[in-house]
């Protein structure tokens, strides 16, 4: 639509394309302009993003305190990491969290999208209801759920007459954090699926209806295959987001009970900001970095295949 407007405007103003004059002076001016336009962002980007990327690797070879350098210790931090049971625990917990959230959150998002898209008058209301939690900051979400699941006066425990405290139960803590995360974020996935569903040409469904296909056949033969690029996008976005899990875990369980919910990013936080061991924390960061990088490469491929960009 925007493009059409632009074209119309262009047609009104010009009858024919004109060649760009290319004098030397003009080119130098253009270089200067480009530099001025690009510089502000690039300075911040290099300083706060690219430099830290190299710096975190450097720090991981040092025995550094929270602030400043430390002596170079080679691979010492990584060696220690391999023998640290908390590292393996955080790795396992992060994997467990990914398992508990990525696929359920994607499938539920798809289900909600399919449910919402066939509505008429209620559509925007129901969509807003599913998406509204997503607009809340994580600490509001955790405050609400801590109250909902309060062991004494939470609405579930009061109604059922129980004293269940999920965030203090090693078995239930992680699944409950996952549940809260799904409640919080599924609306986002739903939105992407709705956009994907709207992109499927109606003619396919009309043809299927003429051929007398039932709902399951329509879903299996038309909707699911044509929606696959979006599904792949949602899956990879989820994967990357959930590998970075920290906020909900920190606020709901603090990593407990008995480190049963400690995740990788929290391990980084604990070593750097509570134990003041930046070198060690950086080594964990590098591992996390590599894991997410692999996931991002997968995402990059998926986006290209899906025609996203």
């Amino acid at each position: 639509m925007a493009q059409k407007r632009q074209k119309r405007q262009a047609a009104r103003t010009f009858s024919s394309a004109m060649p760009t004059p290319r004098s030397r002076r003009r080119r130098l001016l253009m270089w200067r302009d480009a530099l001025l336009l690009v510089a502000p962002f690039m300075l911040l980007y290099l300083l706060f993003f690219i430099f830290p990327t190299f710096r975190v690797v450097q720090l991981s070879f040092m025995d550094a305190p929270l602030i400043g350098d430390g002596p170079f210790v080679g691979l010492e931090n990584y060696k220690r990491l391999l023998g640290d049971f908390l590292f393996w625990k955080s790795l396992r917990n992060t994997g467990y969290f990914v398992l508990l959230t990525v696929i359920p959150n994607t499938l539920l998002g798809l289900m909600f999208a399919l449910m919402v898209i066939r509505l008429n008058r209620l559509k925007s209301w129901v969509m807003a209801a599913f998406f509204l939690p997503n607009m809340l900051t994580v600490s509001v979400v955790t405050l609400i759920w801590q109250w909902m699941l309060d062991s004494q006066f939470g609405v579930f425990n009061l109604t059922l007459g129980t004293n269940f405290a999920p965030f203090r139960d090693p078995t239930w803590a992680m699944p409950m954090v996952a549940l809260v995360t799904i409640w919080w974020t599924v609306g986002f996935n739903m939105l992407l699926f709705i956009a994907g569903l709207q992109g499927i040409p109606k003619e396919y469904y009309e043809a299927a209806a003429i051929d007398g296909a039932n709902d399951w056949q329509v879903f299996g033969r038309i909707t699911w295959p044509l929606l696959w690029p979006v599904t792949a996008l949602v899956l990879t976005l989820q994967l990357i987001a959930q590998l970075k899990i920290f906020d909900q875990v920190y606020l709901l369980t603090g990593g407990g009970p008995f480190n049963s919910t400690i995740v990788m990013l929290q391990f980084v936080y604990r070593e750097a900001f509570q134990n003041f061991k930046s070198g060690y924390a950086s080594a964990i960061s590098v591992i996390l970095f590599i894991i997410i990088l692999v996931a991002s490469l997968v995402q990059y491929r998926v986006l290209r295949v899906g025609g996203g960009r």
Partner: protein, 276 residues
């Protein structure tokens, strides 16, 4: 099957509405709790409606906590972040899209590489850097790392690429400067996405937890998402007040969303890589 009521359809609609209500229940429960008197929050069985409706907990939260200060901090930092992201990214994208200069490709690939770098893995060096700048517990400390929004540049570049080059060429002949061409042609033609990106950036900045949490240790510098975690510690088991805090913290963005629903959705689609 054709005539009369479509039974599976009606059942489906009822189920959908039921699920929507289930999804809204925690929000409803937070609001209801916040409107109760403290002693009514723990009655058995739980009361589904507040009786009487009381704003006492709101009055106490607004009067006795630092929440006004956190609102101010959140507003200042989010507005500055949004402004900087839009201006810096749009300018950078314009140069990448319309001007030719040496090193352009390297620049573009450096930016694309940023897509794959998780900011969360960089917190230690970023924190050190800001400590070197004496920016811990300051607005600069909260703002600067959040200004880096590569995805915004990529989106702008795609839209600028789509603007017909004839427009630019003639402006160049007329002797307009690059900056002038930017704000008299490229920006006006892309106001729609600018609004969408601005709203999404603002919401993201307002809701940001992890970085402000790391970089603010003094209560007076905290933003809303970080500050409210202190209140619940201070109030202990005062459920009505804790929920009043939650409602007050969530209300601004929820309102922005309900007003700008279309723009928010549009912005989210673009930043997620679905449209553009």
């Amino acid at each position: 099957m054709r005539k009369g009521v479509n039974v599976p359809g009606v059942v489906g609609t009822i189920f959908t509405v039921f699920m929507a209500l289930v999804w809204l229940f925690p929000l409803y429960w937070a609001v209801v709790t916040s409107l109760k008197l403290e002693e009514q929050t723990i009655t058995k069985p739980p009361q589904l409606l507040p009786n009487p409706v009381s704003f006492a907990s709101y009055a106490r939260v607004l009067g006795e906590s630092n929440i006004w200060r956190w609102y101010l901090n959140s507003a200042i930092t989010s507005i500055i972040i949004t402004f900087l992201v839009i201006v810096l990214c749009a300018l950078c994208a314009y140069a990448l899209s319309q001007l030719s200069f040496p090193g352009k490709n390297i620049l573009y690939w450096t930016l694309l590489a940023g897509f794959m770098i998780p900011g969360q893995a960089l917190i230690v060096p970023q924190f050190q850097l800001l400590a070197d700048f004496r920016a811990i517990n300051s607005y600069q400390g909260i703002i600067l790392p959040q200004v880096i929004a590569v995805v915004t540049i990529i989106i702008y570049k795609q839209f600028f690429d789509a603007v017909p080059t004839e427009l630019r060429d003639s402006a160049v002949i007329d002797g307009a400067s690059s900056l002038r061409i930017f704000y008299s042609i490229y920006l006006p033609l892309n106001l729609g996405i600018t609004w969408a990106l601005a709203i999404v950036t603002f919401i993201g900045a307002w809701n940001a937890f992890f970085w402000p949490f790391l970089v603010t240790t003094s209560e007076s510098m905290m933003t809303i998402p970080v500050g409210i975690t202190q209140v619940s510690d201070a109030f202990g088991v005062q459920y009505a007040r804790t929920m009043a805090v939650a409602v007050l913290a969530g209300l601004p963005v929820a309102t922005v969303y309900l007003i700008f629903q279309k723009r928010v959705t549009e912005g989210i689609m673009m930043t997620a890589g679905l449209k553009g």
